[in-house]
């Protein structure tokens, strides 16, 4: 060992590590023997050969002791590393990170900042690789913590790889989309084979994605409950709809459920985190918190325990469309049923009446959900329910979700110093500092330039009738 620079190196079985390192699926302590030959890209620890024994996952490791990933997350979040390690070991926090090790470690779970995901992705009609990479980059620039590539059009593999290449945040995908699209290109979606589904997941994992949404809770049982339930808006999850249709057409169990052990093998192999999808999430307030939704969650709760038994990190996805007064119940129920696994919610949006403004309906629901304990918010853009978002919609969606996440963080005292700094800048009428502290500095600066106040140190809301200045002056005079 002891190479400098970067390049492929052959690490021979029996050689000894000169320092503690995570190589391929194996953590090596200093002076420990390398247990098998492996070819590694020294700088990035990119592994091009499979190890010859069962891999060790980050969850396996966390159960034994701390890891560099845990240390890095603890530092970024300002929390105690040992406490975080225990949380990861218990599955209450995840650090989604493919064994390829591209992504900066990011923690999602109890006691940490609430995280925000931005979805991008092509469709059949809008299939530009450049556009989707640009959206993904903008999302991260504005502050998204992760990006999911939901592409269904054009060269799906190329788009995914380009996004992975372009970013250092955790990347997620929904592999069933691509499997479905490919099946549809050849025959029909419902003729996907189990191998198509599992193979698609493995292909994404090999490309380095850090987490995948898998709709394993769509089972014959939950579909039956769905049919008995009766719904206004049926199934609105795309992946969910593929699998409901597949089950009904083939009169067979969902392979992602019946072959869950194989899915776990893939997840272990690449150390990807499973995000158990809520394919039966409600598509309207009228369907919120119904028996089909809860049935699926019960199944997901069982699968969470199977993930943990297999040493695979897991989080659970949630709705969707929920009226304000049912949000806390949804979050607490998920936390109880799924034994504290991180909860990843889409929105939730709190009314169906606001197409064009669903980043706002989603921010209201997201703030409430995160306050109640949801750990991770999937953004909603202004074009939700209307069409695919453009770059500006992505920006608006990310900021709206960051507002929700931060507002919830404040309830736990996290990052209150940022608001205090803004308050002090406002008091001082220090506009540059205000902009620097803003969640979206660019927009705030542009708006102020457009408002063009006459008095440089005030703003055009009050102009020379600035309340802050008036009272300050009155108190100053009083103090003279």
């Amino acid at each position: 060992m002891g190479y400098s620079g970067s390049g492929y190196i052959l690490v021979s079985r029996g050689s000894r590590a000169v320092e503690s390192r995570r190589l391929a699926h194996t953590r090596l302590q200093a002076h420990e023997e390398v247990p098998y030959d492996l070819l590694a890209w020294w700088d990035k620890l990119y592994i091009s050969v499979q190890p010859s024994r069962r891999p060790v996952t980050l969850l396996d490791e966390a159960r034994k002791g701390t890891t560099p990933e845990i240390e890095e997350v603890a530092k970024a979040e300002g929390v105690d590393a040992e406490r975080l390690r225990r949380s990861v070991a218990k599955g209450r926090t995840v650090i989604p990170r493919n064994v390829a090790g591209r992504a900066r470690p990011l923690g999602i779970g109890e006691g940490l900042r609430v995280k925000v995901n931005a979805n991008v992705g092509s469709s059949k009609d809008r299939a530009s690789l450049e556009d989707e990479v640009r959206k993904a980059k903008v999302a991260v620039e504005v502050g998204a913590h992760t990006v999911m590539d939901l592409s269904t059009g054009g060269d799906i593999d190329a788009i995914r790889r380009a996004i992975i290449e372009a970013l250092d945040v955790p990347i997620g995908t929904v592999p069933i989309y691509q499997a479905g699209v490919q099946a549809a290109r050849e025959s029909t979606i419902v003729e996907m084979t189990p191998e198509d589904m599992l193979g698609g997941i493995e292909a994404h994992a090999r490309d380095g994605v850090d987490f995948v949404t898998v709709h394993c809770g769509i089972t014959r049982q939950s579909v039956e409950r769905l049919q008995r339930q009766g719904r206004v808006t049926g199934v609105v999850s795309r992946g969910g709809s593929f699998l409901v249709a597949w089950i009904l057409h083939n009169d067979q169990e969902n392979p992602l459920y019946s072959q869950f052990d194989q899915l776990l093998d893939i997840a272990r192999e690449h150390d990807i985190t499973l995000s158990l999808g809520d394919g039966l999430r409600p598509g309207s307030l009228a369907d919120a918190t119904d028996r089909a939704q809860i049935q699926e969650m019960l199944i997901l709760g069982e699968l969470v325990e199977r993930c943990w038994d297999a040493g695979v990190q897991v989080m659970v996805e949630g709705p969707g469309h929920i009226p304000i007064h049912e949000i806390e119940a949804n979050v607490r129920m998920q936390k109880a049923v799924c034994k504290g696994a991180p909860f990843y919610v889409l929105g939730p949006i709190v009314t169906d009446l606001a197409p064009g403004y669903d980043h706002i309906t989603g921010a209201i629901g997201g703030a409430l959900a995160a306050w109640a304990g949801a750990d991770y918010l999937c953004y909603v853009t202004p074009t939700e329910h209307i069409g695919l978002p453009g770059v500006e919609d992505v920006r608006e969606g990310v900021v709206a979700s960051l507002i929700a996440a931060h507002a919830a963080d404040l309830t736990r005292g996290i990052d209150a110093d940022r608001d205090l700094a803004m308050a002090e800048a406002r008091k001082a009428l220090d506009w540059d500092r205000m902009f620097d502290l803003s969640l979206d500095s660019r927009k705030a600066r542009e708006m102020r330039a457009a408002c063009n106040p006459e008095e440089e140190d005030a703003c055009s809301m009050c102009g020379d009738l600035c309340a802050l200045r008036m009272v300050e002056q009155a108190l100053d005079r009083k103090g003279d």
Copy 2:
């Protein structure tokens, strides 16, 4: 009596009403004698002479029996009229309506839909009457229930009158702004006289405004508590800052507090509703729910009872900047301390970090506040903390607040049928119906046109992978 058409008529003392009518300040039952001579504009009941006895307010009337205003509000809200009458009589609901009777009756209070106010108004630098009237009209077109004119620049009287003339919703003002601006034009704000302040309120009432914000809770006591408190952002209410400065400069009690009985006389005379302003509301999360804020609320609670004793309708204004976890406490405390008087909140915004997006931070706080019991939301526009809003900002601000109000209404089962109708339209992929049901139809239509989907009955989010259609088809086939 018994005139037809319209025009000025002299109604002589001793003549008898042929039907029940509200004339000037007096309700006449059919066949009852007119108690004094008065000159009335028959159609609009515009009164150009003062009656010769103490007026009867809507609150006085509600304590005795129902009124046309109560009947109209009950019908619009779909609530029981007698129950509403009792609520108005107890002061738990207000129907702000100048005796001139221009505004369509609107109820604000318990059990009714949450209402939204839009602020407009000129400043020294932007003083176009046409612009402000246009903003006010757009606000109402989009769905604002009331408009407040906060003008401080140009011909303030003309702008106010033009807005009153242009709209049939209740109009509010903050008369101290104009009094302060006029004092500043002649000398300084702190040299306003008590007559300037009370005279300004009377002038606005004579012009027909339906409610006025009066900062009567800024007293020597609350200013003292403010000074002991120490704050990061001091006083951010403009009217509040005028009065804090006035008290400190003149070393005298706030005339709006010490001469509150005169204020009540004006309010009775014109039957305007008092909106007790929260001049010491926090201007940052760091100052939220502090002793100065609560001290002012205690004083406002006392003044609420004095309003009721005088037969004057009253509501109470509230913050401002509050972290999510303190919103419910703020609302419930106000409701308890102010004996159920309607609560009118500004936002509240839930983080200081989002200039450019404060319609969203305000929608989160507004939804929570309204869920907890706030009755009336003052909108916040995207330009809050940056500058005066333009027309598009007004539109965005109104819609964001309507979302918050409606989301809270849904928690009480109010208007859930609207969301159900939208869900059914979505299921049917009936785009025209979706747009018709949208809070902002225009924006939704524009966005969809921009997204330009290939398949007319789907949307560009999923295109031919539409989940709704896929499951519907699978279930249909299954049912064959």
